[in-house]
Symmetry: C2
Subunit: 842 residues, 2 copies
Amino acid sequence: MTDLGLPVPPGFTITTEVCRHAIAHGEVPDGLWDEVDQAIDRLESATGRSFGSGPVPMLLSVRSGAKFSMPGMMDSILNLGINDEVVQTLAEWSEDPHFAWDAYRRFVQMYGNVVLGIDDHRFQEVLTNLRAKRGVADDSELTTDDLERATRMFQKIVEEARPGELPTDARAQLRGAVEAVISSWGNQRAIEYRRISGIPDDLGTAANVQMMVFGDLGNDSGTGVCFTRDPATGRKVSYGDYLPRAQGEDVVAGIRNTIGLDDLADLHPECHSQLIATMDRLENHYRDMMDIEFTIEKDILYILQARIGKRTAEAAVRLAVTMAGEGLIDRKTAVTRVEPASLEQLHRPSIGPSAPKPALSGVAASPGAAAGKVVFDADTAVELAKAGEEVILVRPETTPDDIHGMAAAAGILTSQGGKTSHAAVVARGMGKPAVTGAASLIVDVSTGVASAGDIDISGGDLITIDGTTGNVYVEPVELIEPESLPELEQILEWADAIRTMGVRANADTPADAALARERGAAGIGLARTEHMFMGERLEVVRSIILSNDGPRRQEALEQLEQLQVSDFEGLLEAMDGLPVVVRLLDPPLHEFLPSRLELEQETVRRVRAGRGTDDLREMSEQVARWEEDNPMLGLRGVRLGLMLDQLYRMQARAAVSAYKRRLADGGNPVLEIMIPLVAAVEELRRMRLVIEEEIDRASENDDISIPVGTMIELPRAALTAGHIAAVADFFSFGTNDLTQMTYGLSRDDAEGLFLRDYLEQGILESDPFQTLDVGGVGRLVKLACEEGREANPDLTLGLCGEHGGDPATIAYVRKLGLDYVSCSPPRVEGARLAAAQAELST
Amino acid sequence: MTDLGLPVPPGFTITTEVCRHAIAHGEVPDGLWDEVDQAIDRLESATGRSFGSGPVPMLLSVRSGAKFSMPGMMDSILNLGINDEVVQTLAEWSEDPHFAWDAYRRFVQMYGNVVLGIDDHRFQEVLTNLRAKRGVADDSELTTDDLERATRMFQKIVEEARPGELPTDARAQLRGAVEAVISSWGNQRAIEYRRISGIPDDLGTAANVQMMVFGDLGNDSGTGVCFTRDPATGRKVSYGDYLPRAQGEDVVAGIRNTIGLDDLADLHPECHSQLIATMDRLENHYRDMMDIEFTIEKDILYILQARIGKRTAEAAVRLAVTMAGEGLIDRKTAVTRVEPASLEQLHRPSIGPSAPKPALSGVAASPGAAAGKVVFDADTAVELAKAGEEVILVRPETTPDDIHGMAAAAGILTSQGGKTSHAAVVARGMGKPAVTGAASLIVDVSTGVASAGDIDISGGDLITIDGTTGNVYVEPVELIEPESLPELEQILEWADAIRTMGVRANADTPADAALARERGAAGIGLARTEHMFMGERLEVVRSIILSNDGPRRQEALEQLEQLQVSDFEGLLEAMDGLPVVVRLLDPPLHEFLPSRLELEQETVRRVRAGRGTDDLREMSEQVARWEEDNPMLGLRGVRLGLMLDQLYRMQARAAVSAYKRRLADGGNPVLEIMIPLVAAVEELRRMRLVIEEEIDRASENDDISIPVGTMIELPRAALTAGHIAAVADFFSFGTNDLTQMTYGLSRDDAEGLFLRDYLEQGILESDPFQTLDVGGVGRLVKLACEEGREANPDLTLGLCGEHGGDPATIAYVRKLGLDYVSCSPPRVEGARLAAAQAELST
């Protein structure tokens, strides 16, 4: 900013070279302090002030300045250059003894704490006692005498703890502060932070020495914050706050009412026009919306800080497009200016500004707000929704049995689970607001009451949840519906022109498919068929699994086949002309059966009620046949397909029948069949023969070509991809399961028991179920891409699962040359944008 | 053999070149048949017989001869060169019309079936009817007329199915047979077999044309089998069977009584001495014990086949050592002559020759035989064993709860599971005989009766199991105790001198450790601590897990610590001077808790009996906290260690205390601590700090150095081995779990539901839990070895788990440069031998 000619408080920088020398030799380079003295001399003559004396005393600050921001290091020591004499001079010059003594006590406190390592608690105790004695809440309300007394007591604390180490000489104070900042590079927290963040240890930190300026030096001083555009909407309007006679913190704290920039023009016309010019200058220089802190000291404007301004998703999109229109940035830059994950919220209602205080809170699992009547079970949710009610499904946690209820609900609230729980993942997939893990809530489904402290929530009560913040209101709250944003269409159009990687959606229903298409998905990358086996069809599915009676099983299979034909027809119709990848049944069969534990619990109830239990015992015995200790690692996917091939045959037949119906209706269906959980090429080879047999039979001499591929979701599939690729038309990386197997970690189990602790404690740097673990799982994906393509140059490569909507993952797989990613419909727009950003960053 | 000058029936070979030409061009090369005609002319003049005419007719055989034995291909067509005229000539020459017509009907049957593809069933039907009419059991008892009638009916069958395709001309018969053999290279079964066995498709097969000789041509003919040494003991004694006037099959079928070689000397003195010379010649040529088939046709000896003889484990060891002593082979060759896996049975009792017919059979899960009283639960097993009884533990299947009972039992019998079930794996580890998966047996533990058909077995009944064959006898059977075999010590000494890779044992008790040491283990590579948490201690362990009361948990921990000190002391004492790797607790906590399903079942019983259930409900709620859907992928190993660090701290303290006690007793303990289930380097880094803190504290200023390492048992650990190695002193590949995660397949679940089917159907070529899957899991091991060693050149590399005793795995990891393998004590000798063989094969 100094180079731009802006009014920055003057100062100088001690470079990182000094720090590196100090690390290497245990001391600062010879001649450093002479150079510092010369720099201070130059500062004094430039400003007409004196460091450590009158008539106009200059105080200095020292701040560390590393290449990367490092919260683990100390960052600043203020008010250097004050002592018993200077405080008097300062009081005289400023005509404000209160200000002078406040500066002095701050110096002693900060030097004592930051440089000499004395616990800040000891200083705070003194201030607390003084405030109590005076009956005030804020330090600024203490009298000058109080501040002088505090200063003296602080000096005593320091003298006792570190005798003789609090310098009174200004230059000695500066040396102490500079050395402390430089050596903080080597403190434990900083080292740890660098290790975790991958910052090299040999960079070193600089120390910035700068003149202090004061916004509380009488009525012709003040301090403020302004934005070059409106950070809420991105529109080009005046946007700022100014507070006369105040320090920076006061503006943010909101203790006193601020004035706008237009009013500043009246108070300080010259400063105002200088500020407006500076704002233009900075925005033109950084070519982005700027957030600027400034101080006016005795009618002179100083710019303290300027940074790229934070913004809402709406503002980000509008800024990017309008700035590109103004020629400030090009389209490519515009595309990089929007956070892909933020796009989702542009389509969701939000909590209005008049919202009350929330009653409880949980994990912000899926963004957006929803209000409705509480229901405690999926069936009631469906029933009420059919009757036109908005409902919020409240559960301890959700399971695949609740899917139809989740689909019917406006929002989901659970007391257990976190960002990666079943409820969270499914809600994000459906684009529905969800708050999970509201831990203070006890949901008793059997009695139909959820309680948290003295709050009781019954079925039918109106509540509001905010999945963007995790807040829960036990009352209806005004929701703001999203407006359509033409700039969004514009920036996505630019992104589409840039990106080379395709974006498909994971969708299991025609409604999801339609939404995905609306958001720009180029097909369905993953149509899970297991959801189609739930709900009303569960009884049919059970009779297929449990029936020992051939004809009855056959009948049930035929019944299910008719339903599946409609399922697939709906998907193919919604995605007409675009590919639809149907994945054959994946989960273990007992997911469709009642749990033995629940059957026994029901037995206990019946015995107590004196009723018969023979049917339960029989069911339990049948279910026991399918029981597995680790179903995730058991009989599922292609294994099930090979052992009980009627199921997969039925699904293949149904898919081809749907395809033919679409053709007959003049549609343009594009169908692909995907076989899950392949670990060995022989599984795919055999299953493919079975599927192709069904395709040939069902196609009845029509020449139908339907690509058959596989999920790569087991480490061994990735490790033997070269073999598997020889019998696959496409790979789709099922990174959810691949992550589970590679880590040996079940997401559902780990979430509740230790995954959150792992993330909080930094044992894992990020949730591997959100962002692909490049170092482990990513190596498998890379290897499979390389060896798969080598074995079969025509192999199509895709990725489905949660990671498909994650920008970091998209950037990684773009480098690997994937043809497409597939994600939930609400994340499609973000994925389009992220794919463009990935393209630009390579 | 012809080159050795042995009396082989004369013939010639059509080389593989002809086959390759036929594959490439769809027909045999020009001039082939001319060459064949010339070869037959030479045969005729050499033998004085005529092909297709008198006076002495020559019949020929055609056999395929591929580089690798391929059961998927046809192998022989016999008696070529016969027709209505020749059969008469043959009858006259042999003076045996029965023989002549039998040869004719065999030719028609074989040509019809093998060359023309007519179902053999149709021919068998004719013979069956003839036998029934004549009231005899064997075709040889049919009259000459019967045989003539059969021949005519066979000709009719062929003529109907393939009109005009049964040649009467001898040379046309030969051409048909040769073409059929050559084209069988391309049949579906052969292609499939080659694919599975990795045999190249372009090798092709040869066709061997050879003169037929007949052992049933009157009393001066006969056929026999001999071994150059005794295949049961390996001792150098005369060993053979001869049957006058017989064909090869008759010797094997055992219909008539054979005579020994000494008696042959009386019958055919010249042939006998020629045979003895041939045996010496062959043994000297092949430098191994030979199994020889011979035929005497009209007092002329022919050697039909000679192959390396199959032998018992005892014979193999004795042969190898004595042949090395004779200078026939060198020591290295001797070491390669013994199958490592066979050594186990040298230490186990076996079923005597007088055994009755077994009552039922199951899977031969762990070799050796055992007899004892039936018990149905582990506690009774322990009780009776303490009272000095031999017991057989009979269960539907075993679980970790049964370990103490399995340890006390002489043998284990289960109705479920297979070669890789819990019972099988643990029994092999303990070196105890086991029969698993005796599927016809229904074990009702609650009533204490096991039944199979009309057999009922009650507790206390005497039964005998043979884990070498899978047979079960419901009576006591005479067992033969193994004798000590000095040659075994000798060959293992030679193996030890050759091998470079160490062999340790997996042992959890001092008794196991002592056995391992006796078998030559150089330490314990894996001491699992979870078994130490079972049995009588289970209550203490439960109170640690379930107690919400700090002091009570602390007390239980201290109690367990004292017990663990003794556990570790016993191991260190048994292995004094050799390393003991203690693995900290690995399984999920709820393995130590009662199952919720069983608690509910008990609730049902109590409610029915009108008793209270509050304690059960309470227990169920506590247990629910630890419940996981996929415990294998849940809170276990280092994850548990980090979340509940008191447990790991306690184990580390106990290990160091035991170490110090051993030092104080003048011992030489070598302790290593292993942290399981590491997926991310940060887990190991933190846990290592915790462990080292405890080591430092427990060592009380003594300078104790205890290496700390980790299992590599998750794919991610292997993929990030370069990072993990930086904080590990050693890796031990936990290939059981690594295989489970890489395949996404739980061994226990898969075994019952599909793994056996997969192996039977050839979807998996071998059981990846027995032999390391080189193409998948092996790649991870390789990568981890390379990147681990690169990051930390001092890293020790070992492998523990089932694969540690598998010769193929040992050969693979030897190439990767592993320092040692660790296997169950009974497999240690085999592993020593396999390591030497691996060394010799590189």
